[in-house]
Symmetry: D2
Subunit: 354 residues, 4 copies
């Protein structure tokens, strides 16, 4: 009930702070008989890992996952899957000076206010380090829904954006550049911008687009647990996310019904897909696509005003190893959360779908 579980049938509960000894989680509700591809899990962890390229944080985290249960001879047993990722490169000393200060647009202040005190080291529980457990669980979820293809990619950084529909993009390019933007020219521009921003000790926001293909008809449990509502919650639960739209999204709010309606083909597919693959909260078999907005990282390598726990405003120089732009590393996290939602509704569909 407290907020550290996600999903109902395919349910992930996570624990762990940025600078604790380990983070981890339990997946309860994974069906038995799934042969686990451990390389696929490691690959996702590699994609999320810091230090992959010049444009992301240079922290080194090994991010190796240890499974303790629920998998026997490489196959899921139907019992809960417990796993840990040990922290190996945490430099708590970097955070000594924020013991008594609240950094702007971080969760420092509200954690202290809510819980009475906080684990200040590296943001504690509020750190995006926590998403490492999501990536592990998402990688398993992907194997549960193996027919479905999920591709997320960076669609904008600052003012630079891909000016093409996703159908014109080659998803094979995503991993070919450090930005994870499938349009190689735009990717180069984005990389240049991030490098420039980084030099200034500043950070920059961006968006990620996610396309889900081969989705069976009938996923989603209205009226509250609509497929897109759970996808939205999943995305909004990721650190730094400020917005979510699917299908026509905010553009749809400017349109007329006569241009927005997706007319049918005789086989039940639709000629257009402004619905974004979901009608009435239920997948209709067309591509699902959505877009997620990420704010710029709050930690700057600049001098900035901070609040002390004595109510003083002082200047503090930002330190540590941080991402100038979070979206490249957030791509696997978006995919992981999407996979968790789809796995959950997939299990529901075994009961409720005819």
């Amino acid at each position: 009930m407290a907020g550290n579980s996600f999903g109902k049938l395919f349910k992930l509960t996570t624990f762990g702070e940025s600078h604790g000894e380990a983070l981890g989680g339990i997946i309860d509700g994974c069906p038995s008989g799934i042969e686990i591809d451990f390389d696929a899990i490691n690959l996702e962890l590699q994609r999320r890992k810091p230090g992959q390229s010049k444009i992301v944080t240079q922290r080194k985290e090994e991010d190796q996952v240890h499974f303790y249960s629920g998998i026997f001879n490489g196959v899921t047993t139907g019992t809960p899957i417990g796993f840990l990722i040990f922290n190996t490169n945490q430099k708590s000393k970097d955070y000594d000076e924020i013991v008594n200060t609240y950094r702007p647009s971080h969760a420092d202040y509200v954690y202290d206010q809510k819980y009475g005190f906080r684990d200040y080291r590296g943001g504690g529980r509020s750190s995006a380090r926590e998403t490492v457990s999501r990536v592990v669980a998402g990688a398993i979820a992907k194997q549960v829904i193996s027919g479905i293809k999920i591709n997320a990619f960076v669609s904008s950084v600052g003012e630079i954006f891909i000016n093409k529909p996703y159908q014109d993009l080659d998803f094979n390019n995503i991993e070919l550049n450090p930005v994870r933007c499938p349009d190689m020219e735009t990717a180069a521009e984005m990389e240049k911008l991030i490098t420039e921003v980084k030099k200034q000790g500043d950070t920059i926001g961006g968006t990620i687009t996610c396309v889900i293909q081969n989705v069976p008809i009938g996923l989603g449990e209205p009226v509250f647990d609509k497929l897109h509502a759970d996808l939205g919650k999943a995305m909004l639960s990721i650190n730094a996310v400020k917005g979510f739209e699917y299908g026509s999204g905010f553009c749809g709010a400017k349109m007329r019904g006569s241009e927005h309606n997706d007319l049918y083909n005789p086989d039940g597919t639709t000629k257009s897909n402004l619905s974004g693959g979901i009608q009435g909260g239920i997948s209709n078999g067309m591509d699902i696509y959505f877009r997620v907005a990420f704010k710029p990282v709050a930690t700057l390598l600049q001098k900035q005003e901070v609040l002390t726990n004595k109510g003083e405003i002082i200047e503090q120089q930002g330190k540590g190893r941080h991402d100038p732009c979070v979206v490249p590393r957030a791509v696997p996290i978006v995919e992981a959360m999407a996979a968790l939602v789809l796995a959950d509704f997939s299990l529901f569909s075994k009961i409720y779908n005819k």
Copy 2:
């Protein structure tokens, strides 16, 4: 577990189809001792009701709520509150011709595919008629969190939008025009546009902005049940919603950290509020504001291609009494869902907040 409950501690479960005898719900988890203002509930129902003005549907629904339990001598007892809204003006005959057809961008097709058959009358469970129960529960939720002020309003219709920050608006104007737009001039333009669209038998989308004030610090249960994640899910669960953004939203994705960070005042308030009143998923005491995108209503009073359940494409003339633009009537629904989220986290805060 199935998708018809919302909230954890202040929990609403709803039932009812568009053309059934009644719709209703149960609120489980409302604390005892709250003196219920029944007029306030009726007022919200009036705001949502069809037939209020020329620019909304002319259906007549009495929308009177009957409470059966949980309230004794006008005060909540701590036991579940069961309520019904009887349907009084349903014209099922209007729907005879959609028995065997699937209207574009409606849920007809996916309901049939998922459940094997459907209550086709007026969209059945997928109809926005279902939100009447949400408005009842939201009106009670508002009384549970009586210190908090929630104001939603129409911020755009089609291409017409309010070109002012919400701080410059007078919320008292919201109910003074049929569009529920607090900027009277913009409201007039919007009304004109809707009237025009209606004449064409067409429909148009729009956005609603919601501002929540006087929020105590500490609402939200990270890492999954972040305050904005639950607000997002709540909004995305409303019929026709395509997008959600809070604080800086999608604009924030274009900004740099140095312009986006909200610097503190000594009292813990912030000088700017691009965070939208939420940091790390927890309210920080500043105004919460978010924006919700609604697509244009799918039912047109025009000829349109539909799919039959035999896989034929035929032309069908749209009939019935429908809204040309859904946002004016969706304003109280947005407020209701926001109130449900806040009431839920309010109850959590009694346990977890210091």
Copy 3:
């Protein structure tokens, strides 16, 4: 989350007080496509109804259920089933004198202490009247698990008990006597005892045995949601229940392993069944049987000491129309709750069982 829901996938939420206008509930999670046998539901309500015979309360309650949703043309649609049972014969005046008094071994006192005040009429929410909603939902649950046979019966009243294994009983006899005891001779003795107790204005306890046959192998979700653990909770949630045992039960605690172990037949059935059809919390295909202890009804038609809300002890004469022995009418309630548990695990088994 608050305590008025039961089940996870086949989920019942109930509302209603003894003397409110109506009681009712919502079943969320009932699969689509089930043709509802309304006569079967009414039959269960008849079995639970007061006034059936001389040995139960002479109150007259019509106990007719009204369905408002989730069933279309007699078939479940997969959407939530909302229902009401209107109260028609409540005599609130009977309860005027308990406004300010707490009857011994009733919930009057704790409700006042917990919630600050209470709906005192007829026990309010704490009345067994509430179980009417359980019986409706249980009757539908029985139709969801139509292959499984559930037979509950009165196995003891006071010191009188059936001295035979259930295998020697003819369940067809259960409804042939007012006690609902399948051993006709014992039934007659029980009836005589209840009549005698009633004459004295006193009440008496008893036990109900429930036998569940044709259970598929594999129901139950360990380690916490063991089949018998949920059956136990279900039974203990019924008013007046003091104990639950299954299989060998408390007798098993006196036995040695060498006599208690159920040896296998080659087909996986067992030669004995002290396990009660459940091993490790999962059904093994053998008969499930359990026993439930009910205390004597607390309302006596005698003078009794009561506590006033001013802390005085006064004498009060019990009034109203009450059961001298609750077990005959509790038989359908036990079956209903068992059906709810089995329906819930049945739905789980569609996901998790190979």
Copy 4:
């Protein structure tokens, strides 16, 4: 949703198999600011640990718990508490011969049937080894409800039972003998019986009584989540449990209302306590007491018929290090589960109690 979580607000989710590398769990919902007494946790683990005396299994398990999160500088932070207990003395080879056989009255057969295959080593997930995580969480729960005193003890082994009311017992004696029976003479008899049974390679059942004192009025969330219903489920979820009764229990089913009713004292306490401290599912401030029945351990050190997965009945000699009687080691488990239930309802009471 799958069955490996217990509790709603103070929620434990566990993972781990008998012979995996580690077992563990996550407590989500523990309030912040609780100074953890680690010695108290270790003490509970010692009480549960094998090899404590001659009458329990001679397996050696270190049973040391490692906490990874949720506790900072010895104080709970309000974030989830993740913990592991590494397995150090597992002898998987002992189980080679049950790879293809199903032992009577074990879960081997149903696990294979349900999940398609199983981790056969030591019973896998169905082993009572899993309760080690419950004891850790229960020890923390005890600290959350520090005013409440929970004392469980062995009240019978086979036919030998304590023939005194609990009020006449000195709970300080519980830990003074290996049986954990506070009546020293009865304890000696029990010990003798267990020793004898053990010599024969047999096992024997028993009961545990649990007394909970200093309980505040108002714990419990009717109508389904009655305090005793959740206690019952908690107990029935423990391995080998066959029955649960509280207050007058099965004896109450033989009594008349006039002898069973607990008359009030002016201060709201009751003269007798056949209710067992709970009325209408809510604690009334009197002592809560209940009794739990445990069957004899199914693993015998004798020759026994087993079923092979080819449908043959063969004889197999029981091996390994097993308890001849489970109740002495189950005492801390009963207390742990009771503590979890009470902690959960304690958190609810912060919201719902006046």
